[in-house]
C-alpha cells in the first residue's frame, strides 16, 4: 500500500473511532446513573445523582468568608448551625443544639448540644468546636474579609452582640451578650457565619475553609472545578435522617436561557434564577415551577434631606401618582406581590393592617403642583436584582411614565450595580431605587434599614427620633405579640411619613423536572437537598 493511502486509511479509522465513541456516549447510559440507584421508594427506581444548575460559582464555601446566595445554596447542604429554620418559615428549630434557654435578662443563651455528632473529617462535634467557630469571628481574630461576622455575632470593640462564648461542659455552651438582642436567636440559624465548622479542618487550612469545607451536614464535599461544578456525596454517618440521593452536583450556568435549555433537555434536574418570562416555556416543556413568597422588598426611596422631598406632602403626592398594583402586574406578571408594607406579611402578620398611600391621580397632580415639583432626578441600577428581576432601569422608566401623566419629568441616570452603590452613598438624587433581601427573618432586619446611620443602607436618609426609639424597643423586647406590635407601629410610621414608595415582594422562582420530588427553595434563599429524589 502506498504511503499516502496508509495515511488516508489511518485518518479514516481515527475519525470513525472518534465519531463512534461520541455516539456510544450519546446513546449510552451515564456511568454514575447506571449503577444501583438504591431505590427506597417502593417501585419507583431512583437516580443516584441530583444535578442542580445555578447562575454562578459560589464565592467560597466557608460560612465565615462569604455573603452570596450561590455560596449559601451549597453550604446549607454541608454545614449545620446550632439551630435551623423550619421548612416553610423562618421560625427556628433545633439542629446541632437539641434545645436552648434564654436568661430572664435576655443576655445569656445556653445551648445544649446534640451528642454523638461527628464532622465529615471524623472530628467530634462538641462545645469546643462551637466556641472555635464563633471566636474566629470575634475580635481580635475577626478579619475584614468576614462579611457577616459583625451582623451575626456583633463586635466586642463596639460592645454589641456576643461578649463571650463559654464552654460549660462537653455538650453545653453559654453565649453571653453585651445587651439583650432578640434577633440573635434567628442569627444563629443563618447559613452565613453561624454554621459550625470542623476545628481540625480550620487548623489544617489556616482558618479558611473556602476551598475545603468540612461540616456536619447531610452531604460531604467532594470537589470543586471552578466555573464548572461542585460535587457532594451523601454523609452516611449523618446523625439524622440520611440524604435520599447519593450524589449532588451543582453546575454553574450563567445565562438564564442556557439554564432553561439545560433543564428541558434533561442535562440538569432543577434550576433557579429563572425570570417570569421563562415560566411558560418551561411549563410548556413539562417542567414544574416552584414559586413561593420571598423575603424581599423592592422600593423607591425619597431623599428626605434633599430640597424637593423634604416635606411629607410632596412625597405623598409623588407616591399617589403611581398605580403600584398595575405596575407590578405589568412588570412581574404573577411572580411578585404588590407591596403595601415593608415586610412581607409572613414575617409580621400586623403588616396587613398598615395603611399606606394609594393611587390617586387627581390628588397627585394637585399635590405636586402645590409643592412646585415639575422635574425629578432619579438614579437607578441596570442589573436585575433578587427583589427586582426586570432591573432598576425598567422599573424607573415605568414610574417615569406615571409621573409624565401628572406633569412631572423624571430624569433617569442608570449605573451598574457596583457603581450604583457608591453613587447612592453620595446622596445626590431626589429619588433612588433600591431593595432588600432579608437575612434572618427577624423584623428588625427589615425595619432598622430606616434607622441605619449608614447612607448606603438608609438611602432615604430618614432620621426620626420616634422611629429610632421604636427600633431600640423592638431589639430588646422578647419575641411575641408585643414585639410584633412594635414593628407594626414602625411600618405605619414609615408609611405615614412616605419615606419609601414600597413596590413589590418578589417570589422565589425555580424550576425542576417532573421526575424530581422533595425539592424546595427556602424563603431565605437556601436549597437543602437532603429530601430530594430523582426518578429514573
Amino acid at each position: 500500500m502506498k504511503n499516502g493511502n496508509i495515511k488516508k486509511l489511518s485518518a479514516l479509522i481515527l475519525t470513525a473511532a472518534v465519531i463512534g465513541t461520541a455516539m456510544t456516549a450519546c446513546g449510552g447510559s451515564k456511568r454514575a446513573s447506571s449503577g444501583a440507584s438504591g431505590s427506597n421508594s417502593g417501585t419507583v427506581a431512583l437516580k443516584d445523582t441530583f444535578t442542580y444548575a445555578q447562575g454562578a460559582d459560589p464565592r467560597g464555601l466557608d460560612p465565615a468568608y462569604v455573603d452570596d446566595g450561590e455560596s449559601a445554596k451549597v453550604m446549607c447542604n454541608i454545614y449545620e448551625g446550632l439551630l435551623k429554620y423550619s421548612k416553610d418559615s423562618t421560625q427556628v428549630q433545633p439542629c446541632l443544639a437539641e434545645k436552648y434557654e434564654v436568661s430572664a435578662d435576655g443576655m445569656t443563651y445556653t445551648f445544649h448540644l446534640r451528642k454523638n455528632v461527628k464532622f465529615h473529617d471524623g472530628t467530634p462535634f462538641n462545645a469546643d468546636a462551637v466556641k472555635a467557630s464563633i471566636d474566629r469571628q470575634l475580635e481580635p481574630n475577626v478579619s475584614d474579609e468576614m462579611p457577616y461576622a459583625s451582623f451575626v455575632f456583633g463586635s466586642i470593640k463596639a460592645k454589641s452582640g456576643v461578649k463571650e462564648v463559654k464552654v460549660v461542659d462537653e455538650n453545653t455552651v453559654e453565649i453571653d451578650l453585651f445587651s439583650p438582642e432578640t434577633p440573635f436567636i434567628k442569627n444563629v440559624a443563618m447559613v452565613m457565619a453561624a454554621p459550625i465548622a470542623s476545628p481540625t479542618a480550620l487548623k489544617a487550612n489556616n482558618g479558611n475553609l473556602n476551598e475545603k469545607p468540612v461540616g456536619t451536614g447531610p452531604y460531604k464535599f467532594v470537589s470543586w472545578d471552578k466555573g464548572q461544578n461542585i460535587k457532594l456525596v451523601r454523609n452516611d454517618d449523618y446523625w439524622g435522617e440520611k440524604a435520599k440521593t447519593k450524589n449532588v452536583v451543582f453546575r454553574f450556568i450563567t445565562e438564564n436561557s442556557a439554564r432553561d435549555i439545560a433543564l428541558t433537555s434533561g442535562e440538569v434536574d432543577a434550576i433557579d434564577g429563572i425570570s417570569a418570562s421563562d415560566v411558560s416555556q418551561l411549563t410548556g416543556a413539562g417542567d414544574k415551577i416552584f414559586s413561593a413568597d420571598g423575603m424581599t422588598i423592592n422600593y423607591m426611596a425619597y431623599n428626605v434631606t434633599g430640597t424637593k422631598f423634604k416635606d411629607v406632602a410632596a412625597r405623598k403626592a409623588f407616591s399617589q401618582a403611581v398605580n403600584v398594583p398595575e405596575l407590578v402586574k405589568s412588570l412581574y406578571k404573577d411572580y411578585a406581590t404588590p407591596a403595601t408594607s415593608i415586610m412581607p406579611f409572613f414575617m409580621n402578620a400586623g403588616s396587613k393592617d398598615v395603611k399606606s398611600t394609594s393611587f390617586d391621580k387627581a390628588a397627585a397632580k394637585a399635590g405636586l403642583a402645590k409643592a412646585g415639583i415639575t422635574s425629578v432626578n432619579m438614579i437607578t441600577y441596570s442589573n436585575p436584582r433578587p427583589y427586582n428581576t426586570v432591573g432598576g432601569q425598567v422599573l424607573a422608566e415605568a414610574i417615569q411614565g406615571y409621573l409624565k401623566d401628572v406633569g412631572v419629568t423624571c430624569n433617569i441616570k442608570t449605573y451598574d450595580w457596583t457603581t450604583y452603590k457608591s453613587v447612592v452613598q453620595k446622596g445626590d438624587y431626589d429619588v433612588c431605587f433600591y431593595g432588600w433581601t432579608g437575612d434572618n427573618g427577624d423584623p428588625d432586619n427589615f425595619m432598622n434599614l430606616l434607622d441605619d446611620p449608614d447612607p448606603s443602607m438608609n438611602v432615604a436618609h430618614y432620621n426620626n427620633p420616634d422611629y429610632h426609639a421604636l427600633i431600640g424597643k423592638g431589639l430588646t423586647t422578647a419575641a411575641g405579640a408585643d414585639r410584633d406590635k412594635i414593628y407594626t407601629q414602625c411600618e405605619q410610621k414609615a408609611a405615614d411619613d412616605n419615606v419609601w414608595l414600597v413596590i413589590s415582594h418578589a417570589k422565589n422562582l425555580a424550576a425542576y423536572s417532573p421526575k424530581v420530588s422533595g425539592y424546595y427553595y427556602h424563603v431565605t434563599g437556601i436549597t437543602p437537598f437532603a429530601g430530594v429524589t430523582v426518578a429514573k
Binding site: 456510544t24 457577616y148 452536583v249 439545560a262 451598574d416
Partner: protein, 338 residues
C-alpha cells in the same frame, strides 16, 4: 535566526509593559470601588477604608503599579479580592478549558477554511466559489451569540443529539491530569468520557470557529488566486505535473505564508477567551471569568489575565514569524532584514 528570535523576545518587554500600564490605569480609574463588593452589604465605611488601606488602594497609582510589576516579574499576581484565593490558581483552573476549545476551533477553522478557500480559488467564478464565499460571508456576519443559540435550539432542543452546556458530564469528569479533557480521557483509556467530552465540544467549536474559518477562507482564496497566476505554476503544468500536485505542492505551499499569519492571529485571539461562546455554552473558560472579575472590580485577576493573554498573543506571533522560514526557505532572518 537566533539573533532575530532574541531581538523579538526582547521586544516583548516594552509591549507587555505598555499593556500592563493601560489595563492598570483603566481598572484603577474607571472601575468602581472593590471594597463594597468584597466586604458585602453590611460593611461599615470604616471597615471599607481599612480594607482599602490594607490592600494598598490608598497609595498613589504609580506606586501601586510599581508594586504590581515587582510582583508580576516574580510570577506573583497576588490574591483575588473576591475569593481570597491566589490569582494563579483561579486562572489555571480555567485556562485548560479555553485552550482546549481554542485548539479545536482553530483546527476546525484552519482545515475547512483552507479547503473552502482552495476550492473557491481553483474553481473561480463557479458555483463552488460562490458557495464558499457565501459561507465565508455568513461566518463573518453572524453574531456568535445568535449562532450559538441557533445551534442549541437545533442540536439540543429539536434533535436531542448534543448537550448544550459544560465540558463533560460531571460524573465522567477526569481528575488530575492536564485539564484538557480530550487528552486526559484518551490517555487514560476512558473512551466513554472521551466521547462525552467530544459531544460537549462540537457546538462551542462550531460556533467559535465559524468567524475564524470565514477569515481564513477569504485569505486563502485571494492568496491562492495570486499564486495560481504566477509564471512558475504555468511552467509546472507545462512540465506535465498533475493539476492536483501543482495545487498542493506548488500553489498552496507558496500561498500559505499570509494564511499562516491569519491562523496565528486568530489562534491568539481565541486563546484570549471567547466570552460570548463561553457564556452561551456555559464553557468554564478564562474569557467569561475575566468579564465576571471586571464586573466585581477584582483588579488582581483582571491585570494578571490581560498580562498573560498579551504574552501568549505576542509569543504566538513570534512563532508564526518563525514558521515562515520553514514554509518558505527563501525567507532568512538575516542582518539586513532584521
Amino acid at each position: 535566526m537566533v539573533k532575530y528570535t532574541i531581538k523579538r523576545i526582547l521586544m516583548l518587554i516594552p509591549v507587555l509593559l505598555g499593556v500592563s500600564l493601560v489595563v492598570f490605569l483603566i481598572m484603577r480609574v474607571f472601575s468602581p470601588d472593590p471594597a463594597p463588593v468584597v466586604l458585602g452589604e453590611h460593611a461599615s465605611t470604616q471597615a471599607m477604608q481599612a480594607w482599602r488601606e490594607a490592600h494598598g488602594l490608598n497609595e498613589p497609582i504609580w506606586l501601586q503599579f510599581i508594586d504590581f510589576l515587582k510582583n508580576a516579574v516574580t510570577g506573583n499576581f497576588g490574591v483575588s479580592y473576591y475569593t481570597n484565593q491566589p490569582v494563579s490558581n483561579e486562572i489555571m483552573s480555567r485556562f485548560p478549558a479555553t485552550v482546549e476549545l481554542a485548539i479545536c476551533a482553530i483546527i476546525f477553522a484552519s482545515v475547512f477554511g483552507v479547503l473552502l478557500g482552495v476550492v473557491a480559488a481553483v474553481h473561480k467564478n463557479t458555483f463552488a466559489d460562490y458557495a464558499s464565499t457565501l459561507v465565508a460571508l455568513a461566518g463573518i456576519s453572524m453574531p456568535i451569540f445568535w449562532l450559538g443559540i441557533l445551534l442549541i435550539l437545533l442540536f439540543t432542543g429539536t434533535l436531542h443529539l448534543l448537550p448544550s452546556t459544560g465540558r463533560i458530564d460531571p460524573m465522567l469528569q477526569p481528575t488530575g491530569g492536564t485539564g484538557l479533557y480530550l487528552w486526559d480521557t484518551l490517555t487514560s483509556g476512558d473512551f466513554e468520557a472521551f466521547g462525552n467530552a467530544v459531544q460537549h465540544l462540537i457546538m462551542p467549536t462550531l460556533a467559535l470557529s465559524l468567524y475564524s474559518m470565514a477569515i481564513i477562507t477569504r485569505m486563502t482564496r485571494s492568496s491562492m488566486l495570486d499564486t495560481l497566476n504566477q509564471d512558475y505554476i504555468r511552467t509546472a503544468r507545462a512540465k506535465g505535473i498533475t493539476r492536483r500536485r501543482v495545487i498542493r505542492h506548488h500553489a498552496l505551499r507558496n500561498a500559505m505564508i499570509p494564511i499562516t499569519t491569519v491562523i496565528g492571529l486568530q489562534f491568539g485571539s481565541l486563546l484570549g477567551g471567547a466570552v460570548l461562546t463561553e457564556t452561551v455554552f456555559a464553557w468554564p473558560g478564562i474569557g467569561k471569568y475575566t468579564v465576571e472579575c471586571i464586573q466585581k472590580s477584582d483588579f488582581p485577576v483582571v491585570q494578571a489575565v490581560v498580562l498573560i493573554i498579551a504574552t501568549i498573543y505576542v509569543i504566538i506571533n513570534l512563532i508564526v514569524d518563525l514558521i515562515y522560514a520553514f514554509l518558505d526557505p527563501r525567507i532568512k532572518y538575516s542582518k539586513e532584514e532584521g
